[in-house]
Symmetry: C2
Subunit: 318 residues, 2 copies
């Protein structure tokens, strides 16, 4: 068994909210249960945003309810599985508390232009909003995760400063986030940038925070996601976000890949000698199932080559 | 300027011979000239096989003739550019000599089942054929490159032994190949296998051969090509084959990616701090041109996300 790497599955939230088709509550709940059955232990389950803004995430409460009432519910809502829901503001937090979620995620970015288009305020203002959300959430003993979007490039501003990533990350940690995910939202990062940003975080955040409170969130838009993960691993990171089948696409480059596919991340981590506790074979089965639901072909290369049995089976040796 | 990595462009041969559409002599010659204009210096130009077996490579002599007679011809046929042609047997060598090529490639594999289906003989017999081809080629002062296919897995046999890769490579080097390309023909290799095979070659081939006479030839069928290149770089390799736009696909997994795309390799090498002497921007232009010729959309992710200008330009900083 290799050294453990933590995977955070973002398919049911970050993935599905960027798909054209809105799935039923039943399908979304089933997706989460199937993913837990692959061995995944950290998942985004949905978000408490306005259904007018993001129809794909409507009735996230009911998704949780469905899971809690199911056979697998005990696993999904047990202490061994962290099922997190995105919360954009105080109203979202109220919904989260009412639904009895145990874990929430808050999100901002490095780029003012991006947060203004995304949530109608500048980064500094978003941090103010989340400060009061975080305070209340922690009083209520919720687990808190933070996201820093556009950390390696913004679709409106272009280049972003590593110092800005550090500044926003520090603020999210100070609010009580036990993990902050550094996001390459538009998939433009390359290894040199990864090194610059994570070296800075390693130097400035201290060993109480780096690497174990920092996650890498990579998109495969330019095909660099796995290489960026490898570069991050070399710098000490051991937590990565990914999306089953690469669900989500890239809203900023039509037809391009978005979130790196969970099955490709797990497969490559195994190939690098790490262990994730997740079954690649089962992930490929879940990918086939979700592809039948979303009404478009997935782009995950490992999935497309479907290596399951015969001389073309998944595992080869040399 | 980072340390130099050598790219061998296989698009005009390995790429085009696996495309459904046969391009005209003019288009094939223009592709090669356009690739040379990006800064590429090592290219496969075609092959002297039977047009019945591989119609896509018909009249490879005329492709070379076209290039030699063109404005760019002096560059393409000068000592600074190595334009190589695949030769399957003595008859192919005769054609190569008549066409006055300066550089040829010979190919075998680790798997008997594969070479039998591919060239109608077992690996040992193919080595006998190539021994006499190589002898004559070297008398004629041709440069000789060798290919070892199925080195990390065979579509018919499955797993292959690292020792077999070593054995075939040693024989090709002994015949006078100045470079041997180790091929993941069906794109199943993962980093652990890369490490096993290239560590063995490093130990056994000696510093006169490893790494500078060894190339890595990776397919992106499972999305692992760039990670396999990174792993090979860490083991000392500095020569990689790639195909513009990912031309070629994978004949063993329909709809899947085949040869790793040159633009993705060059872009990731730059991101890792290496230098190739090749322009990514120009490669993306050539990819667009060849896509218009082959009549199917390319799958290269860097190409699909077409980052050329505006805030979404190619180069971001942190």
């Amino acid at each position: 068994m290799g050294e453990k790497v933590k995977i955070v599955e973002v398919g049911p939230r970050d993935g599905l909210q960027n798909e054209a088709k809105t799935l039923s509550v039943e399908d979304r709940a089933e997706l989460i249960q199937k993913l837990i059955a692959t061995g995944e232990k950290f998942l985004e389950g949905g978000s408490f945003v306005s259904p007018k803004a993001i129809p794909q995430m409507v009735d996230s409460e009911k998704v949780l309810e469905k899971i809690s009432g199911s056979v697998l519910g005990s696993a999904a809502t047990s202490a061994s599985v962290d099922l997190s829901f995105l919360v954009p503001n105080e109203k979202g937090l109220e919904r989260a508390l009412e639904a009895k979620v145990k874990s929430i995620a808050i999100f901002t970015a490095t780029s003012d232009s991006f947060t203004e288009k995304n949530i109608g305020m500048k980064v500094a203002d978003s941090l103010k909003v989340f400060e009061s959300v975080a305070k209340k959430a922690i009083q209520e003993k919720l687990r808190l995760r933070g996201y820093v979007s556009t950390a390696f490039g913004c679709p409106y501003e272009g280049s972003q400063k590593a110092e800005k990533v550090l500044e926003v990350t520090e603020k999210l940690l100070a609010m009580g986030c036990d993990e902050v995910s550094i996001g390459d939202t538009i998939g433009v990062a390359h290894p040199k940038q990864i090194e610059k940003v994570f070296s800075l975080l390693a130097r400035k955040l201290g060993s109480q925070n780096f690497p174990h409170r920092i996650a890498g969130h990579f998109h495969d838009t330019r095909g660099m996601a796995l290489l960026n993960i490898k570069t991050s691993l070399d710098l000490g990171l051991r937590t990565f976000d990914s999306s089953i089948g690469g669900l989500g696409g890239c809203p900023y480059a039509k037809g391009s890949s978005g979130n790196v596919a969970t099955e490709e991340v797990v497969w490559s981590l195994e190939g690098l000698g790490f262990s994730t506790g997740i079954s690649v074979e089962k992930l490929l089965e879940v990918a086939a199932w979700i592809e039948s639901k979303i009404g478009r072909p997935l782009k995950s290369r490992l999935y497309l080559s479907r290596p399951l049995s015969g001389p073309n089976a998944l595992y080869f040796e040399s």
